[in-house]
């Protein structure tokens, strides 16, 4: 077993603290309440996994951390604190100052993330525009970082164009470019989804190794539970725009508390050891986020729901130190009557 991160949540302190963040999208069909009252801390030097299914708001949360939300998005409430700054109210100039200096991002599709008409070297030199180095020095750094991401013969790769590289190699270039800026926070939005399973494991292994070497915090957004378990120290689970459970990877994967987390883990075919023709599913569908339900967001699909779930919105109950879930079942007062 490989232990990642030498620090624990208690002594490092948060790099970014998201406090009661709510984000709305104005659409032709009405206002979509995409994130509602989300609180989450990204600890220094740790890997936080953000998991959930399509439409749960995990990408919206990731994009709000780097100021890349669409024009029709509005932060209606809450704060994103990084040091003494509140990122939620940042203007374009403030974001430009942070992006590519303190926060960097790796995107899902490495082909569209790279400019197809510029060679790799040009793009890797351009991204160092803030550094007061000569062009030769920037070029040498680009070669060094291509080596860091284990690209064979890095000097020769500077002259190639993105289409001449395979998907796995392109994603390595994107990782090298993100790390060239030496960020404190690296956001990886489904970085392995477009890759084969064998390459996926190579990229996860590379991210783990580089995270330990550079010591940056990583927000790893994924719907693939296997890679999250491989890489992450902490895990946050989202459902329908809410943070429904958060804790250490071991707590979430071994002792999930929220019925949604339990259902999500049960659905992963990798956990089903015996071949079966009848796989578990989560019946029902996501609530309409234009009119989020009054009570628990998961109530309509929850096998354990009862009266209170329809009327009261559950707060984040503490299950254990650093482990909490938004479910009335965890209320210590529940069941006493």
């Amino acid at each position: 077993m490989a232990l990642t991160g030498n620090t624990t949540a208690a002594d490092a302190g948060p790099l970014v603290a998201i406090d009661s963040l709510s984000v709305d999208f104005d659409t032709a069909g009405g206002t979509v309440h995409a994130l509602r009252d989300v609180s989450l801390e990204v600890q220094k030097g740790r890997v936080l996994g953000l998991v959930g299914e399509s439409g749960c708001g995990k990408s919206t949360l990731a994009y709000s951390l780097i100021g890349l939300l669409a024009d029709n998005a509005r932060v209606v409430n809450g704060a994103i604190r990084m040091g003494d700054r509140d990122l939620a109210g940042l203007n374009a100039a403030g974001w430009r100052d942070l992006r590519g200096r303190r926060i960097a991002m790796i995107f899902q599709d490495p082909m569209t993330a790279l400019n197809p008409v510029l060679n790799i070297g040009r793009q890797m030199i351009d991204i160092q525009y803030r550094e007061s180095l000569s062009k030769a020095e920037k070029r040498a750094r680009a070669i060094e970082f291509l080596g860091q991401v284990q690209i064979p013969d890095p000097a020769a790769r500077l002259d190639v164009y993105p289409h001449q590289l395979s998907g796995g190699m392109r994603q390595r270039v994107c990782i090298a470019m993100a790390l060239l800026t030496r960020p404190d926070l690296l956001i990886a939005d489904e970085p392995t989804t477009a890759l084969d399973a064998t390459l996926e494991m190579q990229i996860v292994d590379l991210l783990r190794e580089l995270q330990q070497r550079f010591g940056c915090a990583v927000l790893f957004v994924s719907h693939h539970l296997g890679t999250v378990a491989e890489l992450c120290d902490d895990v946050a689970v989202m459902y329908a725009g809410e943070m429904v459970e958060k804790g250490s990877a071991r707590q979430i994967f071994h002792h999930p508390q929220h019925p949604y987390t339990q259902a999500l883990l049960a659905c992963d075919p990798a956990r089903i050891g015996i071949a079966t023709r009848q796989l578990p599913t989560i019946p029902g569908s996501l609530p309409d986020l234009r009119r989020p339900p009054v009570g628990c967001a998961f109530r309509a699909r929850c096998p354990q729901a009862w009266g209170r779930c329809a009327s009261d919105h559950p707060p984040l109950y503490v299950a254990q130190t650093h482990h909490g879930a938004r479910c009335h079942l965890l209320n210590p007062e529940e069941g006493k009557t």
Binding site: D205, I272, Q278
Partner: protein, 327 residues
Amino acid sequence: MSLLEVDKLYIRYPRQGRIAAALRGEPHDFEAVRDVSFTLEAGRTLGLVGESGSGKSTVARTLLGLKRAHSGSIVFAGSDMVRASGREWARLRRQMSMMWQDPVGSLSPRLTVKSLVTEPLRIHGRRGGRAEAERLLEMAGLPKEFVGRYPHQLSGGQARRVGVARALALDPVLLVADEPTAGLDMSVQGEVLNLLNDVQRRTGVAMLIITHNLNLVRHVTDSMAIMYLGRFVEQGPTDAIFAHPRHPYTEALLAANPEPDPDKRHDSPSLTGEVPSPLNRPTGCEFHPRCPHAHPDCASQIPQWARGDERRYRCHYPLNVSIGAEV
């Protein structure tokens, strides 16, 4: 007689820069699929597994007539599809259907669900009314009201179900599914696989599933074939291969499928490097440059099929041979 018998199938693609290659005296095309043979019985499911570029989709496209075979034979329901006349081929082709990889992209955005699911019927000169559309939607587990919807109004899982309904329109005896769960959420993946299993139980359709997701193969297929660089490297019953992989490539693919448990982390990736170009095939065993168990002679000797424990594999130094019973 099996429903589908593919024997020594070779498929070639023209390479880019053919004139320059010709001037250098190099071949103008390359083999994407090499010496592939398999059989599929009626009502059974075969999984075709491999990384991107292994040639698995090319095999499917050739079965459906979207690509010509260079040599070899494809015998479907007793007739040779490679040599069939146009009319005979059309008769055979009608009994096969395809589920495409991109669930939303494979549906025309301007057609309603009713038109989409009954389109195959109209193409083959049969009546495709609302009643027929509703019957197909019901088979795919969608409510009847969906007939009037357009693809953009569907979720990924619902679009996939429309794809299933469309594929079932002509009562096929063979259903080819290219990555049927790609891009779907975990809980929805389960729904689609349950639906395919259910359809097979009710209609007896044979299925060929092409995927790189081994979790899927384990739960829906009876047998499987692992492809590397256009060749099969191991094929046999799914259970046996999962229990004791013989080829190191199979073992590596299985290891790249992590169980979601933070206490069972891998210290290093099971497989380094990437699939080599089919224009520049390694000598000997084509997997040897990436193989963690390679011996010196693997680089010179091409492994032939070895048989044992209900399956066959191409490896000089197979794994787990002491565990299974050898023939």
